[in-house]
Symmetry: C2
Subunit: 340 residues, 2 copies
C-alpha cells in the first residue's frame, strides 16, 4: 500500500511530515510518497537522519496557501505539492491522500481528483470529536451544508456509519439524530422526516439524541444539518478552551498550586491527550471514490502518523467499497419502494 502526503501542507512542513512518514513506514509497514521540492526534502531528511527506504520523493513546485483560490488546486496550481499528490491519487499511483494544507483546497481537490461515489451528491469533510472514555464520534454535517434535506442526512448516516466501522474499529456504530429532546414530538420538520427515513435505513439508528449526551459518548455518528452541526462543534470547542484556560490559571496561581500541577502532571497529560485531535490525526473527506484525509494544520509527526494509520485502516478495510455498496443498496431499496 502506498499513501501520498502533501509534503508542504500545514504549519510544520516539511520536517514533521517527513518524521511522520518515517514513523508510518516503520510502524505501519506501508510505503509513503511525499510531494514537494525534492532538494529541500532530501536536505531535511539528511538533517533529520531519516532513512530513505519506503519513502518516495515526488517532485512538485510551490504550495497552495489559504490565501489562494481553492479552485486553483485543479488548475494553475496543479503542479504544487497538494496538486501533485492529488494527481497521484487520481492516477492510481497512490492508494490514499493526506494533506495538512488549506482545507478549502483539499475539499475542492478531493471532489475534482477523487470523484464521488455513485449516488453521493457532495463529499464532505467529517470532523472526529473526542468524547467520554477516550472515544471519538463523527459529525455529519459538520458545517458544509447549511440547509440539509432528510435524504442528505440519511446518506450522511450511511457514510458515517461505514467510516466508523471500517476505519475507527467500531463494530456496530450508534447513529443518533441531534434534537432538542428525545420525545417523538420534539424537533423541527427536518428531524421528524429524517427520523422516519433513518428508521428504515440498515444502520444502527438509536433515535434522537440531545446535545448534552453527545460529549458523554451517547453516539458514534452524530447526524444534523450543517448549521446546527457547526454550532454544536464550535460550542464544544469554546467550552474546551474555557476549561483549559481555567485549569491553566488554576495551576499557575501560586507556588502551592504549581506543586499541585506537578502531582497531577501525568494524569493531566493523559487527559489532554484524550481531548487532543493529534492522537487521531485527520478528518476524512467522505463521499469521494478515493480516500482523502485532511490532517490538522498544526499536526506534528505523531499526528501525521495518526493520519497515516487512519488512511491505512480505511484502505485495508475497503471503506470506499463498503460505502458504495451501502449507497447502492439504498438506491435499490428506494427503487423497490417506488415500484412497490
Amino acid at each position: 500500500m502506498k499513501i501520498v502526503i502533501d509534503g508542504f501542507g500545514g504549519d510544520n512542513a516539511p520536517d514533521e511530515i517527513l518524521k511522520g512518514a518515517a514513523l508510518a513506514v516503520n510502524g505501519l509497514g506501508i510505503d509513503v510518497a511525499v510531494t514537494g521540492e525534492v532538494d529541500v526534502l532530501k536536505a531535511r531528511m539528511a538533517a533529520l537522519k531519516i532513512p530513505e527506504n519506503g519513502i518516495e520523493l515526488v517532485p512538485a513546485e510551490g504550495v497552495i496557501t489559504t490565501e489562494d483560490n481553492p479552485m486553483s488546486v485543479a488548475k494553475q496550481k496543479s503542479g504544487t505539492s497538494m496538486g501533485v499528490a492529488f494527481k497521484m491519487l487520481a492516477d492510481g499511483k497512490a492508494d490514499a491522500f493526506i494533506s495538512a494544507g488549506s482545507t478549502a483546497a483539499i475539499v475542492v481537490g478531493g471532489r475534482t481528483y477523487a470523484k464521488r461515489i455513485e449516488g453521493v451528491k457532495k463529499a464532505a469533510l467529517v470532523p472526529l470529536m473526542p468524547c467520554s472514555g477516550g472515544k471519538r464520534f463523527c459529525v455529519l454535517d459538520g458545517g458544509a451544508n447549511i440547509n440539509c434535506t432528510p435524504e442528505m442526512l440519511r446518506l450522511f448516516a450511511i457514510l458515517g456509519s461505514c467510516f466508523m466501522k471500517t476505519t475507527m474499529g467500531v463494530a456496530n456504530p450508534r447513529v443518533g439524530l441531534l434534537n432538542n429532546g428525545t420525545e417523538d414530538e420534539k424537533g423541527r420538520e427536518l428531524e421528524h422526516e429524517t427520523k422516519a427515513l433513518l428508521e428504515k435505513t440498515p444502520i444502527n439508528f438509536v433515535g434522537y439524541v440531545e446535545a448534552r449526551e453527545v460529549p458523554l459518548g451517547a453516539v458514534d455518528v452524530l447526524i444534523t444539518d450543517g448549521f446546527t452541526g457547526n454550532v454544536f462543534l464550535k460550542a464544544c470547542e469554546g467550552m474546551g478552551v474555557l476549561m483549559k484556560d481555567a485549569l491553566k490559571s488554576m495551576f499557575f496561581a501560586n507556588i502551592i498550586t504549581k506543586l499541585g500541577a506537578l502531582c497531577v502532571k501525568s494524569k493531566l497529560t493523559e487527559f489532554t491527550k484524550q481531548m487532543d485531535y493529534k492522537e487521531i490525526g485527520g478528518s476524512p473527506l467522505l463521499g469521494t471514490a478515493k480516500p482523502v484525509f485532511k490532517a490538522h494544520g498544526s499536526s506534528d509527526a505523531k499526528a501525521f502518523f495518526g493520519a497515516f494509520r487512519q488512511a491505512k485502516m480505511f484502505v485495508e478495510n475497503n471503506a470506499i467499497e463498503e460505502m458504495t455498496k451501502a449507497v447502492s443498496a439504498l438506491e435499490a431499496l428506494e427503487g423497490g419502494a417506488e415500484n412497490g
Copy 2:
C-alpha cells in the same frame, strides 16, 4: 419591597428557602413572603433559629410537582404554594415572584398571573450561562420556540438587553446573533433577515457571533432560535460534565494526585463557583408584565439569596418599565416606517 417565594418548590424546600429568605431580609433589606403550610414553616423556622422579622408566612395547601399538569397552577391547584405566590404577585401584594418548583408550571403561571408586556406574544424563560472571567450571558431563545421569526428574535434582543442592563449590571449589553461564521454571507435566511432587523434596533448589536466565542465571553445577550439555542446550551452543559468528570478522575487517581487536589483546592472551588448556577440563582421569565423568576430545583440558601438579589435589582431598576418602553418604541418605529 416585598418578594414572594414559593415555600415548597424545589428539592430543598422549605429549609433552604427559609434560610435564603432570612439571608435576603438581612442582606438586601427587603421583605419576604413565603407561601405554604404555615405550621410546617413555623416549626422549621424555630428549628433553624430563623427570626420572624421581615418574613411573612402565607397559608397555602400542597405543592405542584413536575408530574402535575402545569395548567393546574391556574385552576385546581391554585391553592398550592406556587399558586398562592402567583396570586400575591397578580394582586400587587408582592413586587416579584420566585419559585424553584416545576418549570412548566412557572411558565404557565407567569403567563396567566403576570400577564404580558404589550407587544410581547410569548414570555420566555431565559437561562443565564457562565462564561470566561466569571461573567454571565443570557440566551434567547433558550429552547421554548423551536421555530422563530426575525421579529421574534428582535423582541428577544430587546428583552435580553434590558434585562442585562437593569438586573445584571451590564452598562451596554453586547447583543450577538449566533451564526456559523461572522462573514456577511454566512447563515440561513433567518440569520440574514434577523441581522438586518437588529441593525435597525436601538441596542448594542455586535453582529454575528460564532458558538466558539460565546463561552469565552463575546456577548452578553445571545440571540438564536430555540432549536439552535437548545443545542448550544446542551452542548456546553455536556462539555462541562465531561470536563468535571475528567477532573474528578484525574484528582482521585492515586495518593499523589489527591495531594495535588489539596494544593489547588481553593482555586478549584473558586472555579467551580464561577461555573455554578447557584451564584446567580435564577432564570427570569422575560416578557411578563410582572417579575417572575425560576430558581434552580436544587437551589440551596445561597442560591435562593442570589435569586432574591436578582429579583430586587430587577424591581429596583424598573426592568419591566424599561422593557415596556423599548417594545413600544419599537412599535412606534415600525408604525413610522410603515407610514413613512
